[in-house]
């Protein structure tokens, strides 16, 4: 087995077990699905631009809104966060890779299998059309149409990918930190990634069983969610939101972590109340499991449950508010540099506060009953998920781009991107508050003339195309930077954490010498010290070059993870088309077993940098 054979082109990416390459793969895949999900959204907005829209049929509209949400949640925001976590979590804690590199590759390829599987459904008789929440009995009826089978199985396998990478990340954080990197010294982004992993770890099994029950109801005739045979559709709502609400924090916490890294760097101040930010993140994680039923206030839970969940929902705003004030405290009195990552972080705070406040209005049960299933809710969660999660992720992209590629994204184009996106976002989603309060229901493909909904719908459509334009600007920036970008150097932003102490892009083994950490923001304290007046002064003494270490073991590339996940893809397709699909199920299972067996027999590491 020659080294070079494993290092060529596509093959190198297919077999990689390097957390950085896997991170890049996640990122590019997420960007691809972002375009897909964005186009779905543009179709929806075109249909709703004028009353009595003619562009889509009701059936096509159902597929598009279902797939828009499913794509954006599971195939864009989650993998984009996974991309940054994969790339930076090991570096931030001073490790050379994650705990299980090949399991990491497997998670990625299983995610790709699930994403392709979901998207393929468009071309074989229609995509899922029962909403991303798949409420029973809508999702369990019509068993002769396979659309919701694609949904149930696709989400199932995406969940598998996420559980595996959660186990991986948690193990990495608890066993692979560099010497001196105590848990409380971990960068906040690493902390939030850990909390997210725990949320996924404990919420995904619940939806796994729920989805299994939906699949069995559809294909085996079980009666879990069929009221006719004594089942209870409300159970599905519980299981879905027991997963679905922690999932909301899965989407937003990585962005909060990014903002907590970006603000201190561009304010040249340590994060204000750092431990409060960390503990409020943990608190959000715990409380995120205690608020699920606020999605079900109109399901008739009874006054006790409604009052209890109304209270917990109000309480969860507290740790979130703590974070907002800590971020403001960080900027306060700092020497602020308004670079693009900083703009996106500030945009995040502004938009997330709006989304958070409209969220708290949902905790009031009678008011929620009024807003339920209206565009007010759509406005709310786009402010937190687009204004929050997506702005946070773009902040992270601009911030870490130079580290990953070695080149700085263009600042002027970046600013144009930010302002177009910021304006477009508000044009699209702010009017939806008004539309919702005026009674426009969600998920309806048409509205009649003369209801007072025309103007704001048109504005929202214009806004959505502004967002699309801003994304084109971003792609232009990407292309331009790849062609003529300035070299970034190791530490373009005067950063505070370990990733800026190594070259851009980082070497395959991350650290020549595993760093020994002495404080929070360790890299900053290696560069600066304080004088009597409390001002930062550059440290002049360059630390002596550390002694060379022995050979570094790196995980060897492996094609087994990709092979095993290709088996899973075939197996899933077979499960949709039972009973004849059983042949494909068998073939897929054999390929998967082959991949897993080969994987467990493979030698673990190759010698490198001897």
């Amino acid at each position: 087995m020659t080294e070079t054979a494993h290092h060529r082109g596509m093959w190198r990416w297919l077999t990689t077990t390097d957390h950085k390459k896997i991170g890049i793969l996640y990122g590019i895949t997420a960007m691809g699905f972002f375009v897909v999900g964005g186009i779905e959204a543009l179709f929806i907005r075109l249909q709703l631009a004028t009353p009595n829209g003619e562009i889509l049929s009701a059936d096509a509209y159902n597929q598009l809104f279902t797939m828009h949400a499913t794509t954006m949640v599971f195939l864009v925001v989650m993998p984009a966060a996974a991309a940054l976590t994969n790339y930076f979590l090991p570096i931030l804690i001073g490790a050379r890779d994650v705990a299980f590199p090949r399991l990491n590759a497997f998670s990625y390829w299983v995610f790709v299998a699930g994403g392709l599987f979901l998207t393929v459904s468009f071309f074989v008789g229609g995509a899922p059309d029962g909403g991303w929440f798949g409420y029973a009995p809508l999702s369990t009826q019509v068993t002769e149409v396979v659309r919701m089978d694609y949904w149930a199985l696709g989400l199932q396998v995406l969940g598998l990918a996420s559980v595996l990478s959660s186990v991986n990340f948690i193990t990495t954080v608890f066993t692979m930190r560099a010497p001196g990197m105590s848990l409380m010294r971990m960068p906040v982004f690493a902390w939030m990634a850990t909390v997210v992993s725990f949320l996924l770890l404990f919420s995904l099994p619940i939806i796994t069983i729920g989805l299994l029950q939906v699949f069995l109801d559809r294909n085996l005739g079980t009666g879990f969610y069929s009221a006719a045979s004594g089942g209870d559709p409300v159970l599905w709502q519980h299981l879905f939101w027991l997963f679905g609400h922690p999932e909301v924090y899965v989407l937003i916490l990585p962005a909060m972590g990014i903002v907590s890294e970006v603000l201190p760097t561009f304010s040249r101040k340590p994060l204000f109340g750092r431990s409060f930010v960390i503990f409020s993140g943990i608190a959000i994680g715990f409380m995120g499991f205690g608020v699920w039923a606020h999605h079900m206030f109109t399901a008739g839970l009874g006054p006790v449950a409604e009052a209890a969940f109304s209270l917990t929902t109000m309480f969860i705003a507290v740790p979130t508010g703590v974070k907002i004030f800590n971020w403001l405290g960080t900027i306060w009195g700092g020497s602020i540099r308004l670079k693009t990552p900083m703009l996106f972080s500030l945009g995040f705070i502004f938009l997330f506060v709006i989304g958070g406040l409209s969220g708290v209005t949902h905790s009031i049960v009678p008011s929620d009953a009024q807003q339920h299933d209206t565009y007010y809710v759509v406005a709310h969660f786009h402010y937190v998920l687009f204004g929050g999660a997506v702005f946070g992720i773009f902040s992270g992209l601009y911030y870490w781009w130079p580290k990953v590629t070695g080149k700085l994204l263009n600042e002027r184009i970046g600013r144009l991107h930010f302002w177009l996106m910021f304006i477009g976002m508000n044009l699209t989603f702010a009017p939806m508050h008004i539309l919702g309060l005026n009674g426009m229901p969600r998920r309806t493909y048409r509205y009649a003339e003369g209801l007072g909904l025309d103007l704001w719908n048109l504005v929202a459509t214009i806004g959505s195309f502004t967002i699309a334009a801003s994304l084109l600007v971003f792609f232009w920036n990407w292309y331009r930077t790849a062609k003529h970008g300035q070299p970034a150097g190791d530490d373009p932003w005067d950063g505070r954490t370990l990733e800026w102490s190594i070259s851009s892009p980082p070497p395959e083994h991350n650290f020549d010498v595993i760093p020994v950490v002495h404080s929070e923001d360790d890299f900053w304290h290696r560069k600066y010290t304080e004088n009597e007046a409390g001002h930062a002064v550059t440290v002049t003494a360059v630390p002596s070059a550390p002694a060379a270490e022995g050979p570094i073991h790196l995980p060897s590339p492996s094609y087994y993870p990709a092979l095993a996940s290709s088996g899973i893809f075939v197996l899933l397709l077979g499960l949709v088309y039972l009973p004849w699909g059983l042949i494909a199920v068998g073939a897929g299972a054999v390929v998967t077993m082959w991949g897993l067996f080969g994987w467990s027999m493979e030698p673990l590491t190759r010698e490198d940098h001897g």
Partner: protein, 195 residues
């Protein structure tokens, strides 16, 4: 499946894998929690089909539960032998554990056929659906465990097997005991409390 780390920082690979296993088992708790609570919600929704008291045969299930419980003893003895590097003994206990697991599965198959004869199938009622899905989901876990036990026993003959890598006996053991404790809960909550 672990990255070898630099000796200086001596992250023990066995420790790393055990952390991952315990994290994974924590997650599995929620999996079975969902199944068991679905059953609890539907335990009396039997429609026109048989009820729990009609079909359950407690003496029979007690015996098969006892067999699974004792397989945890043979499992822990296998682990003990592997720690002492007595691989002959270890293989013996591994195979014994797998046999007890297979016996439990055979008992489950017998039980299922009996229930079907008495008119309880997976489509009869929500009670039937949730009972069969819960217990067969657990059975699938047992089957996977049996497979891992046999593979570990077989691999220990070959030169490729390293006691400290891959699916070592301790990890298989943790998984196996977990499947056992889930059955302890199922036996009480699903069987004993419903008759």
């Amino acid at each position: 499946m672990s990255v070898a780390l630099h000796e200086e920082h001596a992250h023990d690979p066995a420790h790393i894998r055990k952390v991952a296993m315990w994290v994974f088992l924590g997650s599995e708790c929620l999996l079975f929690g969902t199944l068991i609570s679905t059953f609890l919600l539907y335990r009396t929704r039997t429609g026109s089909g048989p009820t729990a008291a009609d079909v359950f045969d407690i003496p029979f299930t007690s015996v098969s539960s006892f067999i699974l419980l004792m397989s945890s003893l043979t499992m822990v003895l296998a682990h003990h032998s592997s720690v002492r590097k007595d691989y002959r003994q270890m293989r013996l206990w591994l195979v014994a554990t797998a046999l007890l697991g297979v016996t439990f599965l055979a008992g489950q198959v017998f039980e299922f056929t009996e229930f079907v004869h008495e008119g309880l199938t997976v489509t009869t009622s929500p009670f039937g659906s949730s009972f069969f899905v819960l217990t067969s989901f657990h059975g699938a876990h047992v089957a996977v465990g049996v497979l891992m036990l046999l593979v570990t026993a077989l691999m220990s003959f070959t030169g490729k097997w390293r006691p400290d890598a891959g699916m070592d006996v301790e990890l298989v053991g943790l998984y196996w005991h977990f499947v056992d404790i889930v059955w302890i809960v199922i036996f009480t909550v699903v069987y004993l409390l419903q008759v």
